[in-house]
């Protein structure tokens, strides 16, 4: 145990935390026009602990491959570093990616921004347009199309 570990609610060292934040902002930076937040704005650690706890060791392993330099690098350099990682260990990278996306797109604010209702699908449901069934007139006019 290193001495910069926080107690129970902070499972990561300060370096790991900085790297995590940079990692998230690299995978999903904020939209250039400011319309979408970056993944670093989400409570990713809280999400992992609540919904994917068994991913924690893998996450720590990824973070341990990064350092303060990564955290301070400009975006382009961080992207290049992650591309190397993705190439070297596609499976591990994909496992990380799916968790980042999952956390991000479960966020109610994000959901509203992409045009879907906050919260779970049920029981709210959705309204779907009936659609213009008069478009079928042409189909009916062509007549029977099946063989006996």
């Amino acid at each position: 145990m290193t001495n910069d570990k926080f107690a129970t609610d902070h499972l990561l060292s300060s370096t790991q935390q900085k790297c995590l934040s940079a990692l998230l902002d690299t995978i999903m930076p904020a939209a250039e026009d400011g319309s979408m937040p970056s993944a670093g704005k989400m409570d990713f650690l809280g999400f992992i602990l609540a919904q994917a706890e068994n991913f924690m060791p893998a996450l720590v392993q990824i973070l341990d491959q990064l350092d303060e330099k990564f955290a301070n690098d400009p975006l382009a350099a961080r992207v290049a570093r992650l591309e190397d990682f993705a190439r070297a260990d596609k499976k591990a990278f994909n496992r990380l990616l799916v968790r980042v996306y999952d956390c991000y797109y479960q966020d109610d604010q994000v959901r509203v921004l992409i045009g879907i209702k906050p919260g779970p699908p049920f029981p709210q449901g959705n309204t779907v347009e009936p659609g213009d069934l008069s478009l079928l007139d042409a189909v009916v006019e062509r007549g029977q199309g099946y063989r006996r």
Partner: protein, 538 residues
């Protein structure tokens, strides 16, 4: 062996509580016989289904995966798909695979029952569309089917409920089909568009394939089973059948199964009906070896487990500039096209395919699929690419008729077993040349429709791997015991008190989703049994 007290002999023993097991159980309640159904899985609860939570998409890759090898529940059995480009998917529990199915509910066409006569391939069925017509209608009523009468690609039929909304996805695609002068029609769907039989209507949640939290989707746990149980059928869950046993007269006399505590039990029965689906049924028959049937029960033809048919699927996805609200509404139930369903003289393949319009996915799936296909990057550019695609897509799934070939098989895996030690099924399957040509034709035609509908970008998938939804042909019907396993009403040629009612008995696959036809056949078989009760085994 433990002969538990509740294992008193029954008149009819049904194995499997899915689409066909439920229908046959309900129909036979008229007879007042003692009917028992053994099901290896559990009841599911709508309040547990993923769409109750925000993490519903992630749950689809775990406990609610369509792939039993991924779910890996105690109630599942593993399936070896290594020798197949298509993975078998299913659900094991009360309702069977209808718990996770998309509920696209077309019937086979009249011509599907006569492929040899029409096209000189495979075999004609020993039953026809006209015979099944009243059973299709009865099943539509029991399940609660929504649709629009008047489709010129079928003989007249009247779904009990009005069609589901086709939405912007359906309308956009319909305009494309109209431009080309091609057929399209709102899908028949086993999803209720209005309150029906005590169930509330579909809420357009979207992801039907992880269970319907609303209960608007007609899975058999909420349609047939409550009625069958009220009428006296006993449904025993967590009972996994290992083998069917024979008496000295060569008749089935019961089954050996494992109960929920793993105890081996024997259940005696006068009649045994198999409803374990096109993989589960041959598995248990092949595992029921005896001196009389060293190659598996009811297998004197050697055809148990052979002629496995899926429906190979290719997909064309279109990206549209305008928002289509793609994530809203039942994923697989929108509109369809039968333009290329019947054999065309100008084509290099026989038979045909259904073009099923599929709506869009949720955000996580959109992002991950975009990552896999290289269309939505992570990093800078993610949001822009995501915004272009999410809710802006429509897809065409070309569901191709698969012709029977003896080399496509379900056999017993020599090593892999389920948690009770029963050998797991091994799938050996190849996509035929005819199917490959059909898949390619579907891609080219799908592209034309997408262009006509105004898609700005088109993405093609040649063959979908997790598409073994439809499990057919592995204990086919026929009049000749040498070339079929069961007769025209599902009775084994070899064992006169053994019946099969699931998708195994299909002679050919047709080019549409099979469940409506599986259930109509199950009702027809039950009815024929009832008519022949006095001399059922003659």
């Amino acid at each position: 062996m433990d002969q538990a007290s509740n294992n008193d002999p029954v008149d009819v023993l049904i194995i499997g509580a899915g689409a066909s097991g439920a229908a046959v159980a309900w129909s036979l309640t008229d007879t007042r016989m003692r009917i028992l159904c053994l099901e290896q899985g559990d009841w599911t609860s709508s309040s547990d289904y993923p769409t109750n939570g925000k993490n519903w998409e992630a749950q689809q890759t775990g406990a609610y995966s369509i792939n039993p090898n991924v779910r890996g529940l105690d109630t599942d059995y593993p399936i070896n798909n290594d020798a197949s480009p298509i993975d078998v998917v299913n659900y094991n529990g009360v309702g069977g695979s209808t718990i996770l199915y998309a509920a696209h509910f077309p019937r086979l066409h009249p011509s599907d029952f006569k492929v040899k006569t029409h096209d000189g391939v495979a075999d004609d069925w020993p039953v026809d569309y006209e015979t099944l017509d009243p059973y299709f209608a009865e099943n539509d009523r029991m399940m609660g089917v929504s649709g629009l009468a008047g489709d010129p690609m079928y003989p007249p039929k009247q779904p009990p409920l009005p069609p589901l909304p086709i939405g912007l996805v359906g309308e956009t695609m319909a305009r494309g089909y109209d431009k080309l002068g091609w057929h399209w029609w709102p899908s028949d769907s086993a999803i209720i568009s209005q309150p029906y039989e005590g169930r509330d209507k579909c809420l357009n949640l979207g992801p039907c394939s992880s269970g319907c939290a609303q209960g608007g989707k007609s899975s058999t746990d909420i349609t047939y089973w409550p009625q069958a149980i009220r009428s006296g059928v006993e449904l025993r869950t967590r009972c996994r059948v290992r083998e069917i046993t024979l008496n000295d007269d060569g008749m089935a006399d019961g089954v050996i199964y494992y109960d929920k505590d793993g105890r081996e039990c024997f259940q005696k029965a006068e009649v045994v009906i198999m409803a374990c689906n096109g993989v589960g049924t041959p598995r248990i028959l092949l595992n029921s070896k005896s001196a009389q049937f060293p190659d598996g029960l009811a297998n004197s033809s050697g055809l148990v487990g052979k002629n496995l048919m899926f429906h190979p699927v290719s997909v064309v996805q279109g990206v549209f500039e305008e928002r289509l609200d793609s994530h809203k509404g039942p994923l697989g139930c929108c509109i369809l096209s039968k333009e290329f369903y019947e054999t065309g003289k100008d084509r290099d393949f026989v038979r045909g395919y259904n073009m099923q319009i599929v709506r869009g996915s949720g955000p996580l799936t959109t992002a991950m699929q975009g990552h896999a296909s290289g269309t939505i990057p992570w990093g800078p550019g993610h949001h822009e690419a995501f915004r272009k695609r999410f809710d802006h897509v429509a897809s065409i799934a070309n569901l191709c008729e698969d012709l029977p070939e003896e080399c496509n098989t379900v056999t017993l895996d020599p090593e892999l077993t389920d948690s009770n030690g029963i050998p797991a099924p091994k799938i050996t399957y190849r996509v035929s040349e005819n199917s490959r040509k059909m898949l390619a034709h579907g891609l080219a035609r799908g592209r034309e429709v997408m262009e006509a509908a105004g898609a700005t970008e088109i993405i093609e998938t040649e063959l979908v791997r997790p598409a073994g939804w439809h499990l057919l042909g592995t204990a086919r019907m026929g009049n000749d015991p040498k070339t079929s396993v069961v007769n025209a009403w599902g009775r084994s040629h070899d064992v006169k008190n053994l019946f099969i009612v699931d998708g195994s008995i299909f002679v050919t696959s047709g080019g549409v989703n099979p469940t409506s036809t599986i259930q109509a056949l199950a009702l027809y078989i039950a009815d024929t049994m009832k008519k022949n009760l006095a001399n059922l085994f003659d």
